[in-house]
């Protein structure tokens, strides 16, 4: 009953549900390892993108060096695995905690810097770290990275399910953490208030320092989980996880999907990442793919500036102006209060003109 009332009537939730089910049944649909590999990577990267969204989309702390958390955790997991031979179930959580710790350290300058200045500082951190990694190459593997890590699981399908389960749980936690409508956790509202106007937030009794650091730590932690999964999945932790392009890519995915929505970055990754990988299979794909990707981004920013998910959501859902319940766009009357929906459409159209 609850299911029918609160999921099946809202198109966005139906899509999310179908998407989740598809992911869970995916190994049954295809046994092609290459495709399974792409989807596994997409899942890991979507966790990474969502962690960026928590920090930059919701809290407004622009991170242009998010690969730092991903890479640090990948290296930490790898070192723990190779030197201490810990199990995967220990290396990934410890690696993520290292990510959270690094998040706190990067968060310290964020207490004084804003916007693009913060972005530039965060940009510098992964570059510093890759410098350190190349310097201590005996210990870190240098250019080649650390390889030969333990597998997540013996076969690809089990590994796929492990990744999917961890990613889904993590994204759900971040969804709740940033949900402004939540009645239990108030952090969502709090972080948005900090993004909108830090001064007013402080004047309203919010300890913005504490919560900004919390956002950095949480974001670092979950990016760290993604990094740990990635390292154990490909069995290498290399300097490519710290590269500039990898930091920028997460920003592009999130903006394309829709910043500050959680589901946006997930959609962004699952659309753009497989696309760039599939193009590679075609002749000249390697050369063309970034041109094509850039074109898609430019067009999407022109026509869907708030991201593809927000654009689609506005097409398939509408909010009743009287009782604020979300309805499918095809309904003529509100499902809760029976108010005619064409009023809503008319008002929206008028608002657009003003």
């Amino acid at each position: 009953m609850w299911f029918r009332k609160s999921v099946l009537v809202i198109p966005g939730r139906v899509i999310a549900l179908l998407f989740g089910i598809t992911l869970l049944l995916f190994p049954l649909i295809t046994a092609d390892e290459a495709i399974l590999r792409i989807v596994t990577f997409a899942a890991i990267f979507s966790l990474y993108a969502v962690s960026w969204d928590t920090l930059s989309g919701y809290t407004g702390q622009l991170s242009l060096g998010h690969a730092l958390f991903f890479g640090v955790a990948a290296y930490a997991s790898a070192l723990l695995d190779l030197h201490f031979e810990l199990s995967v179930w220990l290396t990934i959580p410890i690696g993520s905690c290292v990510g959270a710790l690094i998040g706190l350290i990067v968060g310290l300058p964020a207490l004084r810097l804003r916007g693009i200045y913060l972005g530039l500082v965060t940009l510098a951190f992964p570059i510093i770290l890759s410098g350190i990694i190349f310097y201590f190459s005996d210990f870190t593997g240098g250019e080649a990275g650390l390889y030969g890590l333990s597998r997540l699981a013996e076969d690809k399908v089990t590994a796929y399910y492990i990744v999917i389960a961890i990613v889904m749980c993590s994204i759900f936690i971040m969804f709740k953490f940033t949900d402004a409508k939540s009645r239990i956790l108030r952090t969502g509202l709090l972080l948005r208030a900090i993004r909108e106007d830090e001064m007013t937030a402080r004047a309203s009794g919010i300890d913005t320092i504490k919560y900004k650091l919390l956002a950095f730590a949480i974001s670092g932690f979950f990016a760290g989980i993604a990094g740990g999964l990635y390292a154990h999945y490909i069995r290498v932790a290399g300097p490519s996880t710290l590269e500039l392009i990898f930091s920028i890519q997460v920003v592009l995915w999130a903006i394309f999907g829709g910043m500050g929505t959680i589901y946006g970055p997930v959609a962004g990754v699952f659309i753009l990442y497989p696309l760039t990988e599939i193009i590679r299979f075609y002749p000249h794909g390697e050369e063309v793919r970034f041109i094509l990707l850039s074109l898609i981004l430019i067009l999407s920013l022109l026509f869907m500036p708030e991201g593809i998910t927000v654009w689609v959501r506005d097409k398939i859902e509408q909010e009743c102006t009287r009782c604020k319940v979300i309805n499918a766009a095809t309904r003529r009357t509100c499902r809760a209060c029976r108010a005619p929906m064409y009023l809503t459409k008319k008002e929206n159209a008028n608002q657009g003109k003003e």
């Binding site: 207490l111 007013t200 309203s204 009794g205 913005t208």
Partner: protein
Amino acid sequence: MSLYLEVKNLSVLYDRAIVLNGLSLHVNSGELVSLVGPNGAGKSTLLNAMSGLIKWQHDTLKGTVSGKITLNGSVKFDGAELINLPAHEIARKGIILCPERGRPFREMTVQENLEVGALFLDKKVADDNLEKVYALFPVLKKRSSQVAGTLSGGERTMLSIGRSLMSEPKILLIDEPSVGLAPLIKDSLFERIRDVQGMGVTILLTEQDVSFAFDLASRNYVISRGKIIAEGTSQELLANELIRETYLGL
């Protein structure tokens, strides 16, 4: 009546520019006090200093030109010194600032804006306060799911007073409530501020509109170049020819 809020010898310097120059004033419990003066007299700086925002600006921008701030003096509330407390703790003690032009969280709905004011309070208390605020400002209830950036100037001011009331204030510091408002809206705001005072909240407000302030307040300060130059009831101040002509322009 007790000495509730006491500002003594407060000085604020932005780099070498003196904004507040050893300013002293006090507010008694339950009073509605106004602070009138021209642009650049230091009204907003005073309220920001009292609510801890000047200190915050000083701490976060240390080392930059805009961080060269000197803050001296004492602000006492109920006997406790506030001058070195961080802004959020001052707010939690019940000294709440309504910034100029409301300064709402523009991309959040009216209801979310209000809820932010009570985030440090218990959820149940917050719900009660929300009811109270909606009862006082029915227009906010009507707009509850509207994004705050689309509100009119008067509604924004009401929203900011509403958000302050959510935090269960003991003293409201309202920065220029009537700025840029049409006469009719001013009148209704006037009544609402009276209502807030009726709820037992002490109010200190700054104004450029002298008649608006004098009609509301029981006691007034005239501020000029960072100093209090006159104090008294409206009648007393208006009776003083020099002050009336030089500073009030009436």
